[in-house]
């Protein structure tokens, strides 16, 4: 079973994402901000990260840059999932190493399509 780290400061979004991803047979680990997510990744790298942009303590963009610098192991596929829906943010995310990008609001079909796109399904 693949693991997905869901990083979002909204407990509602984490709950919705968990429901969608568990139906796609992912084991879910949750983090409320980028720092918590980075700590989790230092413990064990997941297969996938579903990542919000705007969060307290450390935002998704800074987390991604730090994640891509972590040594060892297979780097996870990172799918941003954010309300930052403009081309400039998307371009920044891709250049920082994001694999896909979901513009909120999202649903199961979109998550499934994007996870398929990066070879997670």
């Amino acid at each position: 079973m693949k693991t997905c780290l869901v990083v979002d400061d909204s407990s509602v979004i984490r709950k919705v994402a968990r429901r969608i991803l568990e139906a796609l047979e992912f084991k879910i680990v949750e983090a409320e901000d980028g720092q918590q997510a980075l700590d989790a990744c230092r413990e064990e790298l997941p297969d996938a990260v579903l990542l919000d942009w705007n969060m307290p303590v450390m935002d998704g963009y800074d987390f991604l840059k730090a994640l891509r610098r972590l040594p060892g192991g297979d780097q996870p596929k990172v799918v941003f999932c954010t309300t930052e829906n403009d081309v400039a943010h998307i371009a920044r995310a891709l250049s920082a190493g994001a694999n896909e990008y979901i513009m909120k609001p999202f649903d199961k079909e979109i998550v499934e399509a994007k996870f398929q796109e990066v070879g997670l399904l």
Partner: protein, 285 residues
């Protein structure tokens, strides 16, 4: 809606679009046509049927379009586009090296996602296609969806299903919450209204025909007729792409499936050997 109204609509839709509705699809008709009735200021489907029986041509077109418009998304099913870039185009680049011309037809273009997906594939291969003339024609029964296709404007929801984010950024222009296909991809596709039940020989011959997820709505005889007429419009070494739930097997000998290429078909001998056209199918447009 009374059983008589439903029977009338079934007959109308079969005659005008080839759409075959089984007796248990009344819910589908109601869900699609109630908005049409409301938009026309009518009280319900019985009133709608009465108007159509009274030869309201505009309303009849709206009913047919409402029933035949289907969901579409970019790079739908993915595999056909891999066949396009990995099998069809390499073969055509070799066989058409003298003419340097390729003609592609999307026979059920709907709101444009399929032809634009092919356009994007072609743009991604532009180095190999330098100096080539590529014609990409999209046809659909519904004028309304073709207007949307021509505009090439899609919601955030529509561009997120099937379209890799890199291609979205590369080939679309953002305008608020909407995304428009870039002018250079939009200019690659010519759209025309066309009913597949009617004669389409005037379109000329093609090297590639995408005819996906439309035959499933036709009855057996109509499928056979459409496939045999497509065979006549396909070059002897051309390719036909059908939807995942569609096949030529058991319908016509004009095509044969390509081994290990799901949904991809090639001509089976010269077009002249295709079975004769059935005369009884109504030409609507």
């Amino acid at each position: 809606m009374t059983p008589l109204d439903y029977d009338y609509l079934r007959r109308l839709l079969k005659e005008r679009s080839g759409l075959v509705l089984s007796a248990d699809k009344q819910y589908l008709v109601e869900s699609r046509l109630l908005p049409v009735a409301r938009k026309a200021g009518l009280g319900g489907l019985s009133e709608l049927v009465a108007k159509i029986k009274g030869n309201d041509a505009r309303l009849t077109v709206e009913v047919v379009e409402a029933m035949t418009t289907n969901e579409s998304f970019f790079f739908r099913d993915k595999v056909p586009f891999e066949h396009f870039t990995g099998t069809m185009l390499p073969a055509l680049l070799a066989s058409r090296a003298n003419q340097r011309r390729i003609r592609i037809w999307c026979a059920a273009a709907s709101t444009g996602q399929e032809p634009y997906s092919l356009g994007i594939c072609l743009k991604e291969m532009k180095d190999k296609l330098a100096g080539w003339r590529i014609e990409l024609t999209g046809t659909d029964l519904s004028g309304e969806v073709l207007e949307k296709a021509k505009a090439g404007i899609y919601s955030q929801f529509e561009v997120q299903r099937g379209l890799p984010i890199q291609l979205l950024v590369k080939y679309f222009v953002q305008n608020g919450d909407m995304w428009q296909i870039s002018p250079e991809v939009r200019a690659m596709v010519q759209y025309r209204p066309l009913n597949l039940l009617a004669d389409f020989s005037h379109l000329g011959t093609f090297d590639v025909v995408f005819c996906r997820n439309v035959l499933i709505y036709f009855d057996q005889d109509t499928k056979i007729d459409v496939l045999n007429r497509i065979a006549r419009q396909l070059e002897p070494d051309g390719f036909l792409v059908l939807g995942a739930a569609e096949t030529v097997v058991g319908l016509t000998d004009a095509f044969k499936p390509m081994a290990d290429k799901r949904g991809l078909y090639v001509r089976n001998g010269p077009a002249a050997k295709a079975p004769a056209l059935r005369p009884a199918v109504a030409a609507v447009r």
